[in-house]
Symmetry: C2
């Protein structure tokens, strides 16, 4: 058994049986090892940002890590943006990077670069193997780090000679001296009693919840609290996964736009966070505060980042000894509109047609403002968002979610500009015949930047500046790109066409792409 | 004048008048400033890897830096691979990254990450502005670092509040305490006399040349040395720019494959490098040496990385007092083959039809093995290669070269797998109406990895491993992707069709893409 086989065996033994790969020369022994370890499913991606985004989507749905296999520093660079999003989603991932042979690094060959320095920017743990005998214990450590709170990316750097050298099992080397980095905060003492006092106090109290608390178990516990205390509830702005619909309590998310978020929080005297961070604006703007909570309000973190917020919430429910809630939270579904499509009409149509068990991946950005309210009344579904703000996440995320759950339908709601970053994921959807429906919101612009250009006070702009935000010269045919990559597609401009296309895809096997032609800008 | 305007003015004042942009919210003041500084040409790119690759191509042809404008850490991550290639090409670039407002960083908003830590992996200089009054002197320092030997990437991190704050010119702040990193080596003493001794010695001496020595001035000086001493000449494997064809001395490049490179060097007793590094193999392999020169041979670096190798070479020519060479170095051009296309026939056809002044961008990889010999007899042209081994460089590099020289034709020779990394550059070619002809070598596989899989000794592979190297399930339609992005295109499978398409593009204005359908693997 060589180092590469030891790695794959070590991963499979610990339940990691999917690898999103974009390998190069220094990873050829891992590719060869796939034949020796058939339990590992290799999924080829045509760009590293697809591999990292797919691993994120896989982890969010499968609730366990996938691995990635990438080629040296530049391959890791291409994957960085979606690893950044995964870090913000707290998704467990085992990221394997091949490096030059240990004795070859000194010659500074063309592909040599600082892999560890870059990996630290998104990893919770970074280990470099110096012997094939270390690999199994390194995989063990990487798994522990990736799957403990707060979960994250563990990066293993494996030099080529380590991967091709035989393992001498009698000589397992410890990992002393391996560098690693923790991005989690220190453990705080949980003060459940203080939380009870705040809940029982006669003051405006708000629960700001996030992370795993947004899974159905957590939402049901939050509902029991809400039924017994006069508290408001908000979810973090960009959840990793949020269970929604059906009989679940409907929870608004803190708004992306600072003015709206400030209004949502304006009455809060006490804010209790459970699995969420202190509310701060996404960006700073001239003459605006960064923090969103009212001045003078009290903030209390019930669970620290290194604790399982669901476990802490269970303890609180026990302490409070609350009855189970049996309320139904049904909302009306929107009726299907008609006429030429707008972003709002796309949202209403999705709200009307969304089916039970759908996994929704939302990177619709400015075209998606109406989506949360339009889908409140839909049957039970999951909602995955752009956690780290690095666009180009949606299509890969949907691909990974589709690998994690081959039976459910994934609905990927994707802004036009963002889709172009990592559209290569469509090819993997076709190759693996994944049940992914992609809707491209084609408004022919970086509409979010038009909004932001106004917000930073740069209103009086002329042609040169505007030209940096327009995608219509030339216009792009997203449905044609999709077919070129092997995914059947259609272009629609009316609600009637959109309804037909969406139902067709929901009734079919395999991937499909619908390009919705919208008016320019926000509609 | 705010910080953003100060930056654009500072760049334009120092001759940097092109900016490849993929901006976000934190860069909106720079976008707005484009209206105030019309001398700066903003070129919109739909992916950051296009911006960094285009800046590399621009710098190689314009012989001065372009700037890039990118959005925070993830945007820089997407640009990393082509900045890595630019670092290896020693291309001067001013890389501007927006960051959160200084006072906003503490809240660890979703897009916050370690920008400087990642920038250090490819930058020669990294500066972070803390006041708008610093910006002009920081631009000055960045320009000096980028354009001094060895040239490279200077990164400027500009927080949003620094870019929107007014500059108070009476209070220019010095840059003390700014962190920066040099990746150049220390200056060595030049020993021209020792070089003369080696040239005059009765031993096999080889000149290994690279960098600016491969421009026509350098090649002409090398020719004068070759005419007077019994020396061999080889060029580095992956030059930034190499002048070729016409009456220029034809110089073979050191082979990419280690066995071939070892054979090329096998007779050398003395190796004098001028602008090139000690020859080492691209990758290490089991039971192969990393260094390629024969054991016992002497290596002498005539110019260190921090010296201008052309200037050193001029001094050597003066010392040697050599006459000018008037030889003609004409080679036969290949005749046009016929029948179904192979990679070799594509190369022969290009060798037969290449026109004077063409800028060739070569990312043909395994499909390009015949290109150097087939184009030896072509009229004068420039040849740009994949300097850092990070694939996905060709289409952006050609785009930047096209911006730098709007009058010449750029011929981009592009492998299928590599083209998919950064195909978004086609849109910029269409938008700016650049004279770029792209030829896609569609062999439906990562052929180079099939080669490498065999080389690392992993020969006996079955379906799982092979499936990681094949791009044919589903097959990809590159000509359709091109049209979807606004670049007219054609698919060809015979030499006759290829000749017609190539001449059509050479005779036309604007971009065009030819997808050459080849047999699978290496042909």
């Amino acid at each position: 058994m060589n180092g590469a086989e030891s790695l794959l065996n070590g991963l499979v033994d610990r339940g990691v049986d999917v690898c999103f790969t974009n390998p190069g020369t220094s990873e050829m022994h891992f590719v060869a090892a796939l034949d020796q370890v058939p339990a590992m499913r290799g999924v080829l991606c045509l760009f590293e940002g697809v591999a990292s985004g797919a691993a994120d989507g896989y982890g969010r749905i499968a609730r366990k890590p996938a691995s990635t296999l990438l080629h040296l520093g530049p391959g890791q660079g291409n994957a960085l943006a979606n690893f950044h999003n995964a870090r913000r989603a707290k998704t467990p991932i085992i990221n394997v990077i091949g490096d030059h042979a240990t004795y070859h690094l000194q010659y500074d060959a063309p592909l040599t670069s600082d892999i560890k320095g870059v990996a630290k920017s998104f990893s919770k743990f970074v280990g470099t193997a110096t012997s094939s005998n270390q690999i199994d214990s390194m995989v063990d450590q990487a798994m522990k780090m990736a799957t403990s709170f707060e979960k994250g990316v563990s990066t293993l750097i494996i030099p080529a000679d380590v991967s091709w050298s035989e393992v001498s099992s009698s000589d397992v080397e410890p990992l002393e001296g391996e560098s690693w980095t923790s991005i989690g905060a220190e453990v705080e003492t949980i003060e459940l009693g203080h939380a009870r006092e705040l809940l029982e106090a006669d003051a405006e109290t708000l629960l700001l919840i996030g992370g795993d608390v947004l899974l159905s178990e957590g939402i049901k516990m939050i509902e029991r609290i809400k039924a017994n205390f006069s508290v408001g509830v908000l979810a973090e702005t960009f959840p990793s996964v949020m269970d929604r619909g059906g009989d679940l309590l409907s929870i608004d998310r803190l708004a992306y736009l600072g003015e709206m978020a400030t209004a949502q929080l304006s009455h809060a005297k006490n804010i209790i966070t459970i699995g969420a961070k202190e509310p701060a604006s996404f960006f700073a703007y001239p003459n605006s505060r960064s923090l969103l909570a009212p001045e003078g309000s009290n903030l209390f973190h019930l669970a620290s980042p290194s604790e399982d917020p669901l476990a802490v919430l269970r303890e609180l429910i026990d302490l409070l000894n609350l009855p189970r809630s049996s309320s139904k939270n049904r909302f009306e579904r929107p009726s299907i509109p008609d006429g030429d499509l707008t972003a709002t009409k796309v949202a209403q149509t999705i709200g009307a047609l969304l089916r039970e068990g759908t996994i929704v991946v939302d990177e619709a950005n400015t075209s998606g403002f109406s989506l949360p309210s339009a889908t409140k009344g839909a049957p039970v579904h999951k909602w995955l968002t752009l956690t780290g703000g690095a666009i180009g996440q949606g299509v890969p995320l949907a691909t990974g979610a589709g690998i994690a759950d081959m039976d459910s339908r994934v609905l990927c709601l994707e802004a036009d500009g963002s889709s172009l970053y990592t559209f290569q994921a469509l090819w993997t959807q076709a190759r693996e015949n994944l049940n992914v429906t992609t809707v491209i919101f084609n408004n022919q612009s970086y509409a979010i930047l038009e909004l932001e250009l106004a917000k930073v006070g740069a209103l009086e702009t002329s042609k040169s500046a505007r030209r940096m935000l327009e995608l219509d010269q030339p216009s792009i045919d997203y449905s044609q790109i999709s077919r070129a990559m092997g995914v059947d597609s259609i272009r629609v401009s009316t609600v009637e066409e959109f309804v037909k296309a969406l139902n067709h895809s929901f009734d079919s096997e395999g991937p499909f792409l619908i390009e919705a032609l919208l008016p320019p800008g926000i509609s």
